[in-house]
Amino acid sequence: MVFFEQILFVLALAAAGWFLTRRIGLIRRAILLGRPEDRSDHPGERLNIMLRVAFGQKKMMTKPLVGLMHFVIYLGFIIINIEVLEIILDGIFGTHRLFAPYLGGVYPFIINTFEILALGVLLVCVGFLARRYVAKVARFQPERHREMGRWPRTDATLILVFEILLMTAFLTWNASDSLLRERGFGHYGELRGTVGSFVVSRFIEPLLSGLGDPGLVAVERFTWWFHILGILGFAVYLTYSKHLHIGLAFPNTYYSDLRPKGQIKNMPEITKEVQLALGIPGADPTEPPAEPGRFGAKDVRDLSWKNLMDAYSCTECGRCTAACPANLTGKKLSPRKIMMDTRDRLEDLQRGWQKTGPDFDDGKSLLGDYITAEEINACTTCQACVQECPVNINPLDIIQQLRRYRIMEEAQAPGSWNAMFSNIENNMAPWKFSPSDRFNWADQLKQ
């Protein structure tokens, strides 16, 4: 029986590993679709940002209560994973609480810590569900935000319910195991005397103590399998979910934009043309023009790899959108939607690759089929979205590149922008004033 379980376990582990590797490969490929961009400078500063923002969750703490709640889940996730290591080894070798004999008195202490965290995670998940469905926090409501449609909502709910189930399974497993140990049943009894009841699961024990030994073993085995299969399934599921940020928050903050938020990415390919047009030395006219690529971005391929990593790192929390002046006043623009659309576009491409191979082309593009001109035109470039994002995503950078495409490749500016352009071109100011009047303001002072 134990041998059979071991085979089953190794198979499950291998299957999860296979799916996970394949997904990671696809996501990596999708991110690398983007244009190159060098983000290898200032490694010290980058490491520092990663430690503070991803590891230390600095930006989550601007809302202290939610920040604390999220921190509990995060801590639980990291620390309970240490326990998963033991569970996996037990599964492979057919052992039971492999680490207990080696750790002696420390072992119960560690498991007690896990249990307290598990209870914390469980309560926080209930709290988070209540925020979504009872308190109805505005930024999560599909009535207010069209990007929070069925899938994003289901995704968020699934994860929370799933975590509650996993934590319940973990605690119930400990409870049934403790009972069996006390009863000295089979190999469970081996640790009797060294390990007692645990701090949280002892309160579940009375609910199970009425069961006979076989019933208890059934509960113990079921919860053990449910917990570990759940975790493996969760790992694969993550890659389809907003919860990918659990992993990607780290590289994504490491590769943060270090420029001042007001600084827009330069386009060196244009500088050369401008220098030639103005007859400025420095540009070599005999040098062939840079590769004719497009100006700005129409599709994900025109964005940089970092924009695409941003899209996969988005937690769909909507802090950006809740701070966006355009969205707040009822415009269609939502920076969260910009990120979700970019990710959706990448996922659609991935699905295409799997169906028809790497040359897949559905004739669609990010600008037009996912994001409309009305959305990007509404942006005031106020950088509130960039400021708010807890994982240092920059939706504005994508908006800016889409705008460049609209203006420079499609020449589709709103009429009054065209007027502003021609004023700058002809009058050196965005308004129709004569450049020779520019200094008239000083007349009254000089009288």
Binding site: I264, N266, V274, P325, N377, T380, A384, A419, M428, F439
Partner: protein, 266 residues
Amino acid sequence: MTADTTYKVPTMAEMAANGEEPEVLFWVGCAGSFDDRYKKVTVAFVKILNQVGVKFAVLGTEESCTGDPARRAGNEFLFQMQAVGNIQVLNGYGVKKIVTACPHCFNTLKNEYPELGGQYEVIHHSQFLQQLIDAGKITLKGGGTFKGRRITFHDSCYLGRANKVYEAPREVLQTLDADLVEMKRCRTKGLCCGAGGAQYFKEPEPGRKDINVERTEEALATGADTIAVACPFCMTMMTDGVKNKDREDSVKVYDLAELVAQAYSL
């Protein structure tokens, strides 16, 4: 200094002709040059510069739009034409330090010109005023015109979030001896006035409300009688917002430089 004093506004060209070099170039900007309301700010700032005896100059008719609205709208080509042209002028005069009252010019000159060959020390007039106060060159006597009045400061995106200048304008206001009150959304969380990103130059997209009205409501909620701004576009948006709320009789919008000049009775 008496009211009939004439003020000097030297240009770079005049200075260069006399073989002189200013301490700082005052970059006036398009709004500061052409917008009737903001011209008053330009004048107020020039008066302050005269008053404290800073050796400054302006470019006069040699100045040209920095290209900020073109770049933000997506017209990179036009932006760079402007930028490269301006950099030629600035470098031609050997300009080292620039002060400007426009956060958009400030951001563009400071952050975006270096990549195109224009390296200058650029400061916003709020920082410049703060430095003058710190150096004791401006001393505002307490108990003046502002005593007991409520002022709220509206953060400009291109000053605040874009360049992390949050305290300088507040410190300037603090010296006025007025009651400085904050809006609900301030500093890093400051709400945009709605003008940035070239929005100023077109109608807003369809929505429930105009952004400047939303922001003005927040400013009015503080009970302030003065909304202080540090940007020509915020100035227009907030002024329009106050009008929209029919409060133009009781609530005024002023730039920092104007408030300092008022305190000085310049």
